[in-house]
């Protein structure tokens, strides 16, 4: 009897495309245990069926964007403003329920689809016919930590791989000189859960989100030697890598048959390539003045998020598969967690992203990238129809809004409805599982078949749930 390798998976490697030839480099893509299937060119890069999307940009509004003050227009709130309505709960997450509060913002209908949008998103409003709205998203929890985990990983506890990591695990890299999965945090700080939101968890570390801070003194950790490495020069590095390869090859000669040793040699070649390509992704100097101003880089309010949106586009162009752009840091202020003062806090934060998001959508369309790029705008939960304090709103996992745009998406549509107060979902409730199933579906992945065994269970991004939301697909 023979003992075949338990993971016969290794035989299926990314042999086509992306410059990754051969078995030996399996480790570079994900360590010892690899995803069973490989992207197939006759499935347009999908692994289970034909893909419509090759790359994704997710815009995550950290803190819980208020649905009834942005996209979920509720006249009933205006009518019953100030009334005390018993919703049957003694306590919201951080307060006791106050009276009904109407949205302080004007709503108008836009586009052929007649979508209602409030005055906090004037520029995105102009593009509603490109967007498909999930109007009845629901969360299992009303607390930032678990809710952010749920939206990112499909679980309310820490320790599960996030969407970007799963996609990297499932599909690998589009290009070998840039990472598959990049995270651009709000320059003010990391979101609730910090790196927990973009962790590869038990998937191999190669699938972890690479944290890039375009504005920081050191945008990518360890891309370049530290300042005190005075003796490191371009020449010393080139010769050093040559020396290293020579020593490693000599070492390998006596140890043939160990593909990991070969992979490590190769990893230094890729590292050198990344050192060249990564700064190029971040260098916005080559972009036109018109582009700079379209993204709002000439305005200090919109510049931080705008720079991240423009950088995201450059990353997608260069083969990053999944870019996650965050608005808002964790903490009591300057994010979407508007407990205290919706009339002031929400326009403040929405004003930072409205123009950059509209510019990103237009830019992607103009460059033909809408054809294979999915854009997802989302948050961890919504907010309450009643007041917290005088004009704030508390957390509400009962209903919130997400929108999708780009490849495979039927623009101008919506799916699901909340109740008259936007307190709970009322019709066609969708969960993170459904959103994730839909994202994977568009990438050519059957969400029930993308699994990884950990601690006794075959884990999935969608746990044991998830339905593809056909209603918003083109």
């Amino acid at each position: 009897m023979r003992y075949p390798p338990e993971h016969a998976r290794r035989q299926f490697l990314f042999q086509a495309g992306g410059g990754f030839g051969g078995l030996a480099f399996a480790h570079l893509l994900g360590g010892e245990e690899l995803q069973t299937e490989r992207p197939l060119s006759d499935l347009n890069g999908g692994i289970h069926h034909r893909a419509k999307v090759r790359r994704v940009v997710q815009l995550f509004m950290n803190g819980g964007a208020s649905q009834m003050d942005t996209f979920d227009h509720k006249p009933q709130l205006t009518k019953r403003h100030g009334e005390n309505i018993d919703f049957g709960i003694k306590a919201a997450a951080t307060s006791t329920p106050g009276s009904i509060m109407k949205s302080p913002f004007k709503f108008k209908q836009y586009g052929d689809s007649g979508r209602w949008v409030s005055s906090v998103f004037p520029k995105v409003a102009g593009l509603v016919d490109d967007l498909a709205f999930l109007m009845a998203m629901r969360s299992k929890t009303n607390v930032h930590g678990p809710a952010s985990y749920l939206q990112n990983t499909g679980f309310i506890s820490p320790g599960f791989p996030c969407t970007g990591a799963w996609i990297s695990y499932g599909l690998g890299q589009l290009s070998d000189d840039v990472p598959a999965f990049v995270v651009l945090p709000d320059p003010k700080g990391l979101p609730y859960n910090n790196g927990g939101n973009f962790s590869a968890a038990f998937l191999p570390a190669a699938h972890q989100g690479v944290l890039i801070k375009p504005n920081a003194a050191v945008p990518i950790a360890n891309l370049e030697p530290p300042e005190f490495a005075h003796d490191v020069t371009k020449a010393s590095e080139a010769a050093g890598l040559e020396l290293l390869e020579r020593l490693n090859r000599q070492h390998l000669e006596a140890r043939s048959g160990d593909s990991r040793l070969e992979s490590r040699i190769r990893s230094y070649e890729l590292a050198a390539k990344m050192q060249v390509s990564a700064p190029q992704m971040l260098d916005l100097a080559g972009e036109t003045m018109a582009t700079h101003s379209a993204y709002g880089l000439d305005n200090e309010v919109t510049a931080p998020f705008g720079r991240n949106c423009l950088t995201a586009r450059r990353m997608l162009e260069r083969g990053v598969r999944f870019v996650q752009v965050w608005s808002g840091a964790g903490g009591a202020a300057q994010n979407w967690d508007n407990h205290g003062d919706i009339p002031n806090e929400l326009p403040f934060i929405a004003g930072q992203v409205d123009q950059p998001i509209a510019a990103l959508l237009r830019d992607l369309k103009q460059r033909g990238m809408f054809e294979d790029t999915l854009i997802v705008w989302t948050t961890e939960f919504g907010r309450m129809p009643f007041t917290q304090g005088s004009t704030g709103r508390d957390h509400n996992g009962g209903t919130f809004v997400t929108w999708l745009a780009g490849a495979g998406i039927k623009g101008g549509t919506s799916y699901g409805q909340s109740d008259d107060f936007a307190y709970q979902t009322a019709e066609n409730t969708t969960w993170s599982y459904d959103l994730h199933a839909t994202m994977l579906h568009l990438l050519g992945i059957d969400h029930t078949r993308l699994t990884y065994r950990h601690n006794g269970i075959d884990r999935r991004l969608t746990d044991v749930h998830g339905h593809v939301i056909d209603a918003v697909l083109a």
């Binding site: 245990e33 997450a93 951080t94 570390a205 360890n222 010393s236 010769a239 050093g240 990991r260 005088s390």
Partner: protein, 1002 residues
């Protein structure tokens, strides 16, 4: 035992082995129940006939139930007789009414054939290997100094399987390779060149055994193996989740692990201490610290502490937190995936949902929190005496304690009380004339002169208070914030957590015709300041800062201010105070009172701790006091003295652990008795079913998993019952689990490749008999005292001295054709160094490793407050030369959601999940980390600095010796010299640290 006897034993052993193994492997060609039959039953039958389903009287739980008579008195399975086996009749029937399964397609012919064959050959239905009773497969004992393959039981098992596959073991590794292997394995550090030379030259037959004994006695051993254990139990020092708060007292558990490994603690005791040490071994401090194990996992501070107590999210979080504890306990010690039965019965293993919730019930009173414990018995006794003395003081009752009435005490009390009186009279309450809120707050003057806020609590407010002083001179103002039962947490604030934030306090002197003067306040002082929210902030004019009192809520506080220019009037002045409270989220003062003083000079917040009743007593002339009053006075005098003495004792130690002995923080309170745990339908807290009683699994034959006898209200009994269940000699899971973990870390891969899952979905053992032999050896060493040392080091010694371990790691293409992954161990596995070993080895090589043991973890980052609970953590700008960088990696402070990028790139787990085995990835980002991380760059410079004065060739030789433990070959000297000549020695060191030769262990 004489040598000849050993040989005889070994031959016997081999004979027995080959017989048993061939039986084992022979069975594989026939139908195997778990492999072939069970999947069909699971897919098509279990839905109606699973472990606790009995449709038509048929339960397919085990062989007995499958063979039992049905309602129809037929039998589903009659071994050897397919024609009379109802199961087969049903699945092959054409009658849709009769056919099974009733819905979905019929079984395929192939599936039917499998079941028919299975029944024909006797319907074997073996108990899954992991749950079988543990018996040592062979007698023979362990050799003290095995040299040849045949002499060690470990090798005999390995060799017999190799022979069956026509494989032969590899030649032994050379001494340098072996020494490097065993050093990293046991210590996590490389040998020095001198140690390699000495070992190579040691011709004594037991040279290697001597090395192993030396390493096992080295304290670095405990550090190395504690770090493995920290992976298994997902130890880190922050909460995880969005409020990722540092745990200041978690490190004691890490030190406990290191000590336990170093002192070779018996494994059963090690397990018991971690599950229930506090209850099983009262009086043992290390047993209390051991329960840090229960609190290694994440903790959702938002849901369990910050949010509203009666929200649904609090309830969900409690179950999830206990799930973490249950998962950690069962995965760590029993390699059981019991946690898979949270939403439904386990799909593959006989573990019911009810059993899962029984495990939750074991921990029903446990929370993760800081508890105190006494580490010094002498101080513990002093503290106990003082506490008792204090407790006996209010001996008032009907009988007055005569000892309080002695002249001496009364004299002292009198002097003391007169001093108090002076202090008391310093502050004179004001007369409130007018109260106003800018928002919805209703302010009401109470009888004692305090003001209570009620009505709808707004987000923000400004209170304006006008008052008249009763003094003509005013040099200071006192603000008392007071508790009141109407306030959340009893106040003194109105924020749901009892806090308040006073952003700005403004004082005006009111003159005629609105001619008001703002008075400048200086020298603010408060009896308590919230971290980052001190009293100075209330007069700094900055509305973004404030004075706060969290977490000291539920008690009164006071702040005093001096007037820059004291007032001195002919008439009593009218003053106005504005209390600006604009932080938001109802950080408002709930109850307060003002007083003024005429006494100039430095004011203090010292508050005589006396009640209004006592004030009356003090004001009475001494002769007019009753005995009861005298006693009360003496008590008031003595109490603070005892209290001061008590306070001056060093505080008790703290450890972050699983406990119900902790101080409440807001609504996060200890459970006085076990909380009610329900079986949750589909794992949903909104669908509770029957109450779960404490218990464990019933899967181990002969081991009772029902603890309902230990139920009661004593939470400790529940955990003790589980600890006993876990360490029972009949619980083969526990012993197999640890034996496999030891194998896993020594060989790079477990005999069972899923160290946390010994269930049916886990891997099967490659060498089941070897595993059982090791497991029972370990158990019997402990229970029967079979070896001189305790079980752990005994097994370490057996494994690392085996010939299997000492083989070369070189490849053999012929052998690789048969067993490419080397699962049968025809050679040693080559391994990449783990993150900690890389870091520690580099420090050792550079001469900068600080081997100081224990204590608070070193934070290898700059930490600063953020606007959230989680601080800002900056690895990038942390001083690379800081002494904290030189400690061993096991002492690093591991921040769950903000991991160190260098360690992260090298696959160091972030402790969000249990890590029974590490991934070893090889990525471009990892290459960049090894090249450019400042630690590597700086240590390279330091290695170079030590050698740079010598001639070039000697320099290169020196760095080869320190980094690789060997001299360079001639061609290596040549190329490296060339490189050094042009780019310097430090660059060369850095490249050598990046080589595969350094990063892999052969």
């Amino acid at each position: 035992m004489p040598r000849s006897t050993w040989v005889v034993c070994a031959v016997l052993l081999l004979l027995t082995l080959s017989v048993r193994s061939s039986h084992l492997l022979g069975a594989e060609s026939a139908i195997r129940f778990d492999h072939d039959v069970r999947p069909i039953l699971a897919a098509r039958c279990f839905k109606c006939h699973g472990s606790d389903k009995t449709e038509g009287g048929l339960t397919l739980a085990d062989r007995a139930s499958a063979l039992a008579a049905l309602e129809t008195s037929k039998r589903a399975v009659v071994p050897g007789d397919p024609a009379h086996s109802e199961l087969l009749q049903r699945i092959t029937s054409d009658d849709p009414e009769y056919r099974m399964p009733p819905s979905g397609p019929a079984l395929t012919e192939q599936e039917i054939e499998v079941l028919r064959n299975w029944i024909t050959t006797g319907a074997d239905w073996p108990v899954h290997w992991a749950w079988r009773p543990l018996e040592q497969p062979l007698t023979g004992g362990s050799a003290a100094a095995p040299i040849a393959w045949e002499e060690s039981p470990v090798d005999a098992f390995i060799l017999s399987v190799l022979k069956e596959q026509e494989l032969v073991p590899s030649i032994p590794a050379d001494r340098r390779t072996l020494l490097r292997r065993v050093y990293f394995d046991l210590l996590g550090l490389p040998p020095t060149y001198a140690e390699i030379v000495a070992f190579a030259a040691d011709i004594r037959p037991d040279a290697y055994q001597r090395v192993v004994d030396r390493l096992l006695a080295n304290p670095r051993y405990g550090e190395r193996w504690a770090r493995h254990w920290m992976d298994i139990v997902h130890y880190a020092e922050t909460h995880g989740h969005d409020q990722d708060r540092p745990r200041e007292h978690a490190w004691r558990y890490r030190d406990y692990l290191i000590d336990s490994f170093n002192q070779d603690k018996p494994y059963a005791r090690f397990v018991q201490e971690q599950i229930a040490g506090d209850a099983m071994f009262p009086g043992s401090t290390e047993a209390i610290i051991a329960t840090g194990f229960l609190a290694t996992g994440s903790w959702d501070e938002s849901s369990l502490q910050s949010i509203q107590e009666d929200s649904i999210d609090r309830k969900i979080a409690r179950y999830i937190d206990r799930d973490d504890i249950v998962t950690t306990v069962m995965s760590t010690f029993a390699s059981s995936s019991a946690h898979c039965a949270r939403c439904h019965d386990h799909k593959f293993d006989p573990i019911s949902q009810r059993e899962y919730y029984s495990l939750q019930a074991v921990f029903a009173a446990i929370d993760k929190a800081d508890r105190t414990f006494e580490s010094d018995p002498q101080i513990a006794q002093q503290r106990a005496e003082l506490v008792a003395a204090l407790a006996s003081l209010p001996a008032r009752g009907k009988q007055v304690d005569a000892s309080l009435l002695t002249n001496e005490i009364q004299q002292q009390a009198e002097i003391w009380s007169q001093g108090l009186l002076q202090k008391l009279d310093r502050w004179v309450p004001v007369r409130v004339k007018q109260l106003k809120s800018d928002n919805t707050t209703e302010l009401k003057l109470l009888e004692d002169g305090s003001v209570l806020a009620s009505g709808v609590a707004p987000e923000k407010d400004v209170y304006t208070i006008e008052f008249e002083t009763t003094q003509r001179q005013v040099s200071g103002l006192r603000l008392e914030v007071l508790t009141h039962e109407s306030l959340p947490m009893n106040g003194p604030g109105r924020q749901p957590n009892g806090n308040l934030h006073l952003n700005d306090l403004r004082l005006w002197l009111l003159g005629p015709n609105d001619n008001n003067t703002r008075l400048k306040l200086i020298k603010p002082m408060a009896d308590f300041n919230q971290g980052g929210w001190s009293i100075e902030k209330s007069i700094d004019g900055n509305p973004a800062t404030a004075w706060g009192i969290h977490p000291e809520v539920g008690k009164p506080h006071q702040a005093v201010f001096s007037l820059d220019t004291p007032l001195d009037f002919m008439t009593r002045p009218t003053l106005r105070v504005e209390l600006h409270q604009v932080h938001g989220m109802s950080h408002l003062i709930g109850c307060f009172r003002f007083a003024t003083t005429a006494v100039p000079g430095d004011l203090s917040t010292e508050q005589p701790p006396i009640s209004p009743g006592l004030i009356q007593i003090i004001r009475k002339p001494r002769g007019h006091r009753t005995d009861a009053e005298k006693a009360a006075l003496a008590e008031a005098y003595l109490k603070p003295q005892l209290q001061t003495e008590l306070d001056s004792l060093p505080p008790p130690s703290m450890v972050y652990c699983g406990t119900n002995q902790f101080t409440a923080i807001g609504t996060f309170r200890p459970a006085e008795k076990p909380r009610v745990v329900n079986v949750l339908h589909r794992g949903d807290v909104q669908q509770p079913r029957e109450e779960a009683l404490p218990g464990a699994l019933s899967v181990i034959p002969g081991l009772n998993g029902d603890f309902s006898g230990a139920s009661s209200d004593n939470e400790g009994h529940r955990r003790v019952a589980l600890a006993r269940w876990m360490t029972d000699p009949t619980n083969g899971l526990t012993w197999r689990s640890i034996a496999n973990r030891l194998w896993h870390y020594h060989f790079g891969r477990g005999l069972v490749d899923t160290p946390n899952d010994f269930g049916r979905m886990g891997s099967a053992p490659t060498h089941p008999q070897l595993l059982d032999w090791l497991a029972s050896e370990m158990r019997d060493v402990e229970t029967q005292g079979k070896a001189s040392s305790s079980a752990m080091k005994h097994i370490h010694r057996l494994l690392v001295t085996s010939s299997t371990y000492r083989q070369s790691a070189d490849n053999d293409p012929q052998a690789a054709k048969i067993d490419a992954e080397n699962r049968l161990l025809w050679r040693m596995h080559r391994r990449r160094l783990d993150a900690e070993s890389i870091r520690d080895a580099v420090l050792l090589i550079s001469g900068h490793l600080n081997t100081q043991m224990g204590g608070q973890s070193v934070r290898q980052f700059n930490e600063s407050p953020s606007n959230h609970v989680t601080p800002n953590v900056d690895y990038l700008n942390f001083d690379v030369n800081a002494p904290a960088n030189h400690r061993r990696s096991v002492y690093r402070f591991v921040f769950r959601t903000l991991p160190d990028p260098f360690m992260d790139a090298l696959d160091c787990p972030d402790a969000a999940q249990l890590t029974p085995k590490r991934n070893t990835s090889l990525t471009a980002l990892q290459a960049l980390a090894m090249l450019n991380d400042k630690l590597i760059v700086r240590q390279s410079q330091w290695i170079a600095a030590r050698e740079h004065m010598r001639p070039l060739e000697d320099q290169v030789k020196a760095i080869y010796l320190t980094i690789f433990g060997r001299p360079p070959a001639a061609d290596e000297t040549q190329v490296v010299c060339n490189y050094v000549a042009e780019f310097g020695l430090a660059n060369a060191c850095r490249m050598l640290l990046n080589t595969n030769e350094f990063l892999f262990i052969d």
